[in-house]
Symmetry: C2
Subunit: 110 residues, 2 copies
Amino acid sequence: MLNPSPGTVDPVLIFAALGDRTRLALLNRLGDGRARSIAALSIDTALTRQAITKHLHVLQDAGLVASLRVGRESRFAARRETIDEARAYLDGVSRQWDDALGRLKAFVEE
Amino acid sequence: MLNPSPGTVDPVLIFAALGDRTRLALLNRLGDGRARSIAALSIDTALTRQAITKHLHVLQDAGLVASLRVGRESRFAARRETIDEARAYLDGVSRQWDDALGRLKAFVEE
DNA sequence: CTAATGGGCAACTTTTAGGTTGCCTATTTG
DNA sequence: CAAATAGGCAACCTAAAAGTTGCCCATTAG
């Protein structure tokens, strides 16, 4: 039904997609669960429709949004799964680092 | 004692810093809590020492690592706080999206 | 004291990301 | 059907990122 359901995505891709102000703003707008057309997402932004289109594709490649063509418009909606995947990754990092006590001490000693 | 303790950092900066394979690898190596010199972090990587240095500075600007000069070497260590900040941000996004039920339905209706 | 090691700095090259313009096609709508 | 709307595609332009090389300075080791 939707476009890409890429099971699991490379965390680097996800973080890179999140590391841009415009895309983070798009994601936040889509965070209300409503699917929106490219045109709808392009108003209220200084950028051109094509720029927004590119950003949406980056988000889609990262699995953060999915698209569906409806008539002449293509609607984009946020995907929870991938945000959760990013969270899980950071949780893993955090957990790994938990075991690493005495990190500041390690600054001094060799 | 350490270099920058930037209270709170722009999420975009953090995600952008995480969105690079080399930097994510560096972070993972530092995730054991040991502080390492640039030279130490440069072996086992195809890149030059200067390239690694640049990546470390990007990580530092994002608050993900801190550095301390010890004699002739400068040691870098991971900072838990900023990873937690990123986690908190994603938690917020996730929580916002929780309220958004019927997202898929919204694909069909206007 | 003289190597050798660890880094900083700056200039430079190359690749990629962000963005624009122009044009063409498909779908609505009056 | 004609005009308007929504997008796709491709070429192009910049600016920033990633990486390199070269050189110089500080610190440590023989």
